[in-house]
Symmetry: C2
Subunit: 473 residues, 2 copies
C-alpha cells in the first residue's frame, strides 16, 4: 500500500553528481524535478572515489615534486604526516556527511526524496522510504536513471565470502593496512596501490594481463609499472587469482601454485551497473547490465526513460557522467517543450565526447592524462592515422619542473583531416596539460592552426611545439 | 678593408632562439643560412632571462606547493638550499657556455660567424670578427634582423652612472644581494622580486604606477602585489624615482622627499631594440627603435629585410620570437622559390598570434597565465564582449592541489561570434592550464563546442566548466 503520490516533470533516480546535474538542468529549463537517493547525496565521487583517492595521493605528489628539484629537495627533511593526510581526506569527503550537498539541492530548487526507488510501470517510481512507508512518484515527462555502478567482484572461488575491500573501503580506510593486496591493474588499482604504498602499506598488485592500464597507450602502463616497482610495490603481471580465503586475520590468495598473503585485499577489477533492483522489468527491460541508450542518453525503445552516467557504461568517469547529464538534461527539456532535438554531432543534446573525446587522468606518479583515441583504437576503427611521440624530458620547462624529468607525449593524428584523434601525456605534473588536448580534439582544430597556438616558455606545455615539429619531420 | 666575402641565401643577424629558428627553417626549406653572433649563441633567454629566472623561482614554488598540503607540509621541516638552487641555475644556463647551442647549429647545417654584424647596403652584412678582421656576407634572398632587445635604463638622474643591475645581472648573480631595490613592476620586476626575496634578499619594489603587471587584468596585479607583500617585499606603488647615486657600497634612490637605500638596484622598466648599431642607415632606415614590419615580419619598404623577434617590438617574449621565426622563415623560403605568400590570417607565413593570441606566464606566486585580449584591450578595440570570472578556489581540483587555494579565472568572450578573445588564470600551478586557453583562442572554438571539452575531475582545469556555467548564467 502506498502512502502518497507526487508528480514532477522529471524524476531522477540517484543523486550522485550525474543525477544532480540532470535535475539541475531540468529545473533551469523550467521543469520540476525530484531526486531519489538511498545513500549519500553527492554520490560515489564525493565520498568513495575521486575526492578521497586524490587527497590520499596529493600529499605524496607534492612531496615528490619538491624532492625532484635540487635546492628544494634539501627542505624536505621530514616525512609525510599520514594521520594528517587521512584527516585531510576526511575533510574533503565532508566526513561522509551530505548536508552540504543537500543544501545545494535545496538551493537549486530540486526536490529530494530519501529511499530506494524502483520503476513501477510507465513514468512511475515507487520509493521505499527509510521510515518504511512508500511514496509514489509520477513523471510528466521523463525518468532519468542515474544509479551509477558498483565494484564488480570477479568469480574467484571464495572471494565474495571474505569481504574484500572495494574502492569504497580503499578510499575511506581509517589507517594504512599493513599488507594490501590489490586485484586489478586498471586506474583504480594503480592509484590505490600508489597511494597506500606511499602512506605506509606494503602493497602487492596482481594484474591478470601483461600490462597495467591496458586501455591506455602501452607506454603509460609501462611507465606506471616501473614507478610502482620503484615505490616498492610488488607488481605481479600476468597473474591469475584462482581462490581466496581468510586464515585468522590474514587474506590468502591462490595464484596457481603460489599463495600471496596480506591483511586486506582490494578488488579493483571492474564495475557493474546498478540496474538490477530498479524495476526495469516493469517497463519491459531486462534488469542488470548497462542500459542501452542513444546519443541523447534515451533508453532504446522507452522514449520517456534516460540512462545517464555510469549506468549506461559509455564512459565510467564522474566528469563524463556530469557531461552526459548536461546533454540529457538539454534533450529532456527540449522534448518537454515539444521541440525537436538536434541529433547532430556536438549538438547540445548529444554526448558526442563520450566516443570522441573522453578525457581521463590517472593520478599515479607519473600521471597519465589522456583524451580521445589511442593508436590502437584508431587502428581498430580503421581511421587513417599517424602516431607522433616526443620525450617530454627534452622540453626546457619539464627540466625546470623536475630534475631528470621523464615523460612521454603521444599524439594520434588523423592523416586525412589533419586533426588530432587523441593525445596522451605521461609524466609528473601533466594533469593540467590535458585540457589543451581535449579542446584541440573536441574543437577539431587543424594541425595547420595549432602551429599558431604558441606554448609559453618555459612550461611543460612546450611539448606541443615539439609534437608539431616531430609531425612536420 | 675586408678580408673575405661569403654568399648565403639568408643572413641572420643574432643567434638567439629567434635567429636560430629563422636559419633552421630556411635550411629546412633548402636554402643556405648563416648566423652572425657577437655574444653567446642561444641568446638572452638561455643565459639571462627565462631559463635562469625560472630555475631561481622553481625551488621556492615547489616548497610552497608542498607546504600548502596538510600532511605534506609536515615533511618540509628544512629550508631551501640557496647555494644548491644557484648551482642548479648555473647548470640550466650551461654555465654561460654556448658549446651545446653551437653544436645544435652545426647539426642543423647552419653556418655560424662570430662577431658584430652590420648591414652595409642591400643584402650585405659586414662582420667585425673577434680577431679584428672583417668578413663580408652577401645574401641572395634575405637578411633577417634578430638582434633582440636590451634593458632600457630610464632617464633618472644618475642612474646610468651607478651601474645598476639589468635583468642579466639579476638572473646571473652569484649570491643573493642583501637589500635589492627593484625599479619596475612589470613581469621581470615581479619575478625577480619574488625570486630574490625567497632566496634571502630584502627586496623593495618601486613601481611608478598604482599597480604591478599593468598590461594584464587588474586582478593579476592585485593578487601579485598582495603576495609580494606577504613574502615580505616592501612594495611601493605610485612611486617615482628622481635620482640615483652610490654612497660607499650603498645605492641610494631619491623618491620625492624620501630616500630608499639598498645594496643593488635592478632596472626592470622596459626594453629597447638592438637596432642602433646594425647599419640600418645604409639601407635607408633610421637606426634605433623597433623595426617596423608587416605580418610576414618583412621590414616596411625593404622587401629583402626581415625584423624578427624582440627587435620589432610586437611581442617581447622568447616563444613569440620563435613563433615569428617560423612564420618569417616560411615567408622567406616561399618567396625565395618565387611563390606567392598567403597573407591571410593564420597562414603559415604570417604571425597572426602576435595580435590575437600571445600567451605569457608570470612565474610569481600566484602565477599569472594569460593569452589574447584583456577586457581593457577588447574595450579599446571596440569589440563586443562580456567578461566572465570565476574564483578558482571553488573548484574541487584546486582544493585538492592546495589548502585554501585562492585564484581567479577571467575569460573575455566575443559576444557576436561567441568565441574567446582572451583568458587569464591567476593562481598557484596555473601555468600549464594556459595552453588550453591558447588553443581555444587560436582555434576560435565556439563556446557551444567548448561545452563538449570536458575537464577531467578533479583537476584545476575544471574551472573551464565553471566559466562556461557562469557564462550561461
Amino acid at each position: 500500500m502506498t502512502d502518497a503520490e507526487q508528480t514532477y516533470d522529471v524524476i531522477v533516480l540517484g543523486a550522485g553528481s550525474t543525477g544532480e546535474n540532470v535535475a539541475d538542468i531540468a529545473v533551469r529549463g523550467g521543469l520540476t524535478a525530484v531526486l531519489v537517493e538511498s545513500e549519500l547525496v553527492g554520490g560515489e565521487c564525493s565520498y568513495w572515489a575521486c575526492m578521497p583517492s586524490k587527497t590520499l595521493l596529493r600529499g605524496s605528489e607534492a612531496i615528490a615534486a619538491a624532492r625532484a628539484v635540487r635546492g628544494a629537495a634539501e627542505a624536505v627533511t621530514g616525512e609525510q604526516d599520514v594521520a594528517a593526510t587521512l584527516a585531510r581526506r576526511d575533510d574533503f569527503t565532508s566526513h561522509w556527511d551530505d548536508a552540504g550537498q543537500v543544501s545545494w539541492v535545496d538551493g537549486a530548487g530540486i526536490a529530494l526524496v530519501r529511499g530506494h526507488g524502483r520503476l513501477a510501470g510507465e513514468k512511475r517510481v515507487v520509493v521505499a522510504q527509510p521510515d518504511g512507508t512508500e511514496l509514489v512518484l509520477v513523471a510528466r515527462h521523463a525518468v532519468a536513471v542515474c544509479t551509477g555502478s558498483r565494484a564488480a567482484v570477479p568469480p574467484v572461488d571464495g572471494l565474495a565470502d571474505i569481504q574484500p575491500w572495494t574502492p569504497r573501503e580503499a578510499t575511506s580506510a581509517k589507517e594504512a593496512p599493513g599488507r594490501l593486496l590489490v586485484l586489478g591493474g586498471g586506474y583504480v588499482g594503480c592509484e590505490m596501490a600508489t597511494a597506500w604504498q606511499q602512506l605506509g602499506a606494503s602493497v602487492t598488485l596482481l594484474q591478470h594481463g601483461e600490462r597495467v592500464l591496458p586501455d591506455l597507450e602501452p607506454a603509460a602502463g609501462d611507465a606506471v609499472a616501473a614507478s610502482l616497482r620503484a615505490l616498492g610495490v610488488d607488481l605481479r603481471l600476468g597473474t591469475r587469482v584462482d581462490s581466496a580465503r581468510r586464515e585468522g586475520g590474514e587474506v590468502v590468495l591462490g595464484c596457481g601454485d603460489e599463495e600471496v598473503r596480506g591483511d586486506e585485499v582490494l578488488v579493483a577489477t571492474g564495475r557493474t551497473a546498478n540496474s538490477d533492483a530498479i524495476g526495469l522489468e516493469t517497463v519491459g527491460l531486462e534488469p542488470g547490465g548497462y542500459l542501452e541508450v542513444d546519443e541523447t542518453l534515451q533508453v532504446a525503445g522507452v522514449p520517456w526513460l534516460y540512462g545517464v552516467g555510469d549506468v549506461n557504461g559509455r564512459a565510467l568517469l564522474t566528469h563524463m557522467g556530469k557531461y552526459q547529464a548536461r546533454q540529457a538534461g538539454h534533450a529532456i527539456v527540449t522534448r518537454a517543450r515539444g521541440e525537436q532535438v538536434d541529433l547532430g554531432d556536438w549538438s547540445p543534446s548529444v554526448a558526442t565526447a563520450d566516443r570522441r573525446a573522453t578525457p581521463s587522468v590517472v593520478f599515479t606518479d607519473p600521471q597519465v592524462a589522456a583524451v580521445g583515441l589511442t593508436a590502437a583504437q584508431a587502428e581498430e576503427q580503421g581511421l587513417p592515422h599517424r602516431v607522433v611521440e616526443y620525450a617530454i624530458g627534452g622540453v626546457a620547462g619539464a627540466g625546470v619542473y623536475a630534475d631528470g624529468y621523464t615523460g612521454t607525449a603521444i599524439a594520434v593524428v588523423d592523416t586525412d583531416r589533419e586533426v588530432l584523434l587523441g593525445v596522451t601525456f605521461i609524466g609528473p605534473g601533466v594533469a593540467e596539460l590535458l585540457h589543451s588536448a581535449t579542446i584541440a580534439v573536441v574543437g577539431e582544430v587543424p594541425i595547420s592552426r595549432l602551429w599558431h597556438a604558441v606554448p609559453s616558455y618555459p612550461t611543460i606545455s612546450e611539448v606541443w611545439l615539439r609534437l608539431l615539429e616531430t609531425w612536420r619531420g
